[in-house]
């Protein structure tokens, strides 16, 4: 029987993997097309002040834009798969290096942000669902709506004003790698991560509340109550555990969303992450860098979803054993 179990899980994962690969291929096509959609000559625009015929020719050859379209496409896909995303128009160094330089900062922010979001949303969402219709539920609902409605950059601006300028508790900007000094890292990551976390937490609170509500209305919860179980057992073993499955998806999506959405927060907090890199790249028309960043984030999105699927298979016997 166990061979069969493993077999079905493997089949499930194989399907998800194949699906991710298809979507990733689509993503690559879109990313590849980006630079070709630019009206006018991307190289001319990218060079700007640095334009000289020689520089132009050099960049043209270096970027491969002089070759036939299909050849460019396959070479782009080919090198992208091997981790070569071309060379930045702006500083001439490999895009991959640029991105990897920035990834730790963004990852720190995203992960800590997600943790903050979870710390807010899990208790708030469960509490509010279990107290549906009461005043505390209304408070959670309205404040989560509020959290969803506040522009994150505005919140960041307010946070800097309060915690940095007025109270002087935390630094308003800068990044210290975790490996260098964990304490300093934490001090620096706090404000931006809280900004990110509040917004993401507000969104997740709403999903968690809905998920818990849905589970709480399920037949098996009534069965559990009919057994005379303690409320804590019903809440955690029967409600929260089942509600965790959709929450897992949401947490995954949120992590991906944070990864791709921290641009403004990174700009506000001068955080040297991928978001700011993209922002600068957009200003500088550094198309290879934009392409690379978009591809990286989209690929991370797919990877996170894949991981969520794997976790699903671990948590849910219906998938594990079907």
């Amino acid at each position: 029987m166990s061979a069969f179990l493993r077999n079905s899980t493997v089949r499930f994962l194989a399907r998800r993997l194949a699906y991710s690969a298809i979507v990733l291929a689509g993503v690559m096509v879109v990313v590849f097309s980006l630079v070709h959609l630019v009206p006018g000559d991307p190289i001319r625009i990218a060079l700007g002040t640095r334009y000289t015929p020689e520089a132009y020719d050099a960049l043209l050859v270096a970027s491969g834009l002089d070759r036939p379209l299909w050849e460019q496409f396959f070479s782009y896909i080919g090198s992208a798969v091997t981790g070569d995303l071309g060379v930045s128009f702006r500083n001439g160094s490999p895009v991959t290096v640029n991105l990897l330089d920035r990834l730790p900062a963004t990852a720190s922010l995203a992960v800590v942000g997600l943790i903050v979001a979870l710390l807010i949303s899990v208790p708030a969402g469960i509490w509010s669902a279990l107290h549906e219709g009461r005043v505390s539920d209304a408070i959670v609902r309205v404040s989560s709506q509020f959290g969803v409605s506040v522009p994150d950059f505005w919140m960041g601006m307010l946070m800097i004003t309060l915690f940095s300028s007025v109270l002087g508790w935390l630094p308003s900007s800068g990044y210290v790698p975790l490996t260098e000094d964990p304490l300093l890292w934490l001090r620096h990551v706090t404000l931006p991560a809280v900004t990110v976390g509040i917004v993401a937490g507000a969104i997740m609170t709403r999903y968690i509340r809905a998920a818990v509500l849905e589970v709480a209305a399920a037949g098996y919860v009534r069965t559990a109550r009919s057994k005379g179980l303690a409320p804590a057992v019903i809440t955690f073993r029967h409600i929260v555990r089942n509600a965790l499955i959709p929450v897992l998806t949401i947490a995954g999506i949120q992590l991906a969303t944070i990864l791709g959405g921290v641009i403004v927060v990174e700009v506000v907090f001068a955080w040297p992450g991928i978001g700011r890199l993209v922002f600068d790249a957009v200003a500088a028309r550094d198309y290879p860098l934009i392409q690379g960043a978009v591809l990286l984030i989209a690929a991370l999105f797919l990877l996170i979803n894949l991981i969520v699927d794997v976790l699903y298979a671990v948590v849910d016997p219906r998938i594990r054993l079907s």
Partner: protein, 303 residues
């Protein structure tokens, strides 16, 4: 108690009434929804008449009068060029709302088309369209919008287009899911067995029945579009000066955080309030449309 003969009539028991009239009544019975509707209405009215009721010209600079705190003459104070912030917030309503409405209209139009076609036709077309949507979905919203701006250059039109494009997959998914669930409803099956054409089925049965979901999604998307516009403008890539938009005003306020709180607080509050109103209204509508929530509301209303 066994022998009480009730007056037996031939009337069969009536199921509980669930009409659209009742939906409206339920909506109006929720004070939060009513308040958000009033806020939205006000915002829309301001969007139309803003330029006429604004006390000052929105681009009227008066450097000598710059950075004045809120006062009787300038309710929301003045900005770094001495322009009246109250007037600018009023007039910016139109720009911000226009961006939101146009981009959501783009997303709704494209998403509805893709979603309904995919959900109704099914088969390989569904497969292909949904994979395309999945691909679009894999891009984070703001990043994709930025990429589009990088291609087309910043500006009002680009902003609307970019936001429209990035929200299309959501509408496509919602429309497809609702279309799928409606098209397996027996009343659609009946129409098929009667030989009714696809046009009639789509127009008379499917669209009206997915409209509710789409209205909710539209309301929520308007909220997100407003935020996206603000974010793009905040990055200096959205609405361009001197045209005021709430996000652009926050962009301008960045340098004055310590000195002139009113420059960032009022446009920020305007965004927050409008987005909140769209979200709450959408939420209220969903509560009414969702049968489970609805019975709860009805029960509470009768208490």
């Amino acid at each position: 108690m066994t022998n009480m003969e009730p007056s037996l009539t031939e009337v069969e028991p009536q199921p509980p009434t669930t009409s659209r009239v009742a939906s409206w009544r339920l909506l109006l019975s929720n004070p939060v929804t009513v308040i958000s509707a009033i806020v939205l209405l006000t915002v829309i009215v301001v969007a139309f008449i803003g330029p006429w009721i604004a006390p000052y010209g929105i681009n009227k600079t008066n450097v000598a009068n710059a950075l004045q705190p809120p006062s009787g003459a300038h309710w929301f104070g003045t900005d770094d060029l001495g322009r009246d912030i109250f007037s600018r917030v009023l007039v910016a309503t139109q720009v911000s709302l226009k961006v939101a409405v146009v981009s959501v209209a783009i997303a709704l139009g494209a998403g509805l088309l893709i979603g309904v076609v995919a959900g109704y036709r099914g088969g390989w077309l569904d497969m292909v369209l949904m994979r395309v949507v999945d691909v679009m979905f894999a891009f984070p919203v703001l990043l994709l919008a930025l990429a589009i701006v990088a291609i087309l250059g910043p500006g009002l039109t680009t902003t609307m287009l970019a936001i429209g494009v990035v929200y299309t997959p959501i509408f496509a998914r919602v429309a497809r899911a609702s279309t799928l669930s409606v098209s397996v409803e027996p009343f659609v099956q009946v129409s098929r067995t009667m030989g009714t054409g696809n046009g009639y089925i789509l127009g008379r049965h499917i669209l009206p029945n997915i409209a509710g979901t789409l209205i909710v999604q539209t309301s929520l998307s308007l909220a997100f579009a407003l935020l996206a516009e603000a974010a793009l403008s905040f990055l200096g890539l959205g609405v361009q000066p001197p045209q005021p938009s709430w996000g652009r005003m926050l962009f301008d306020a960045q340098g004055f955080l310590g000195q002139a709180w009113w420059m960032s607080v009022f446009p920020g509050a305007a965004i927050c309030l409008t987005v909140l109103a769209f979200n709450l209204a959408g939420d209220g509508m969903r509560d009414v449309l969702d049968p489970k929530q609805r019975t709860m509301l009805e029960a509470r209303r009768k208490r």
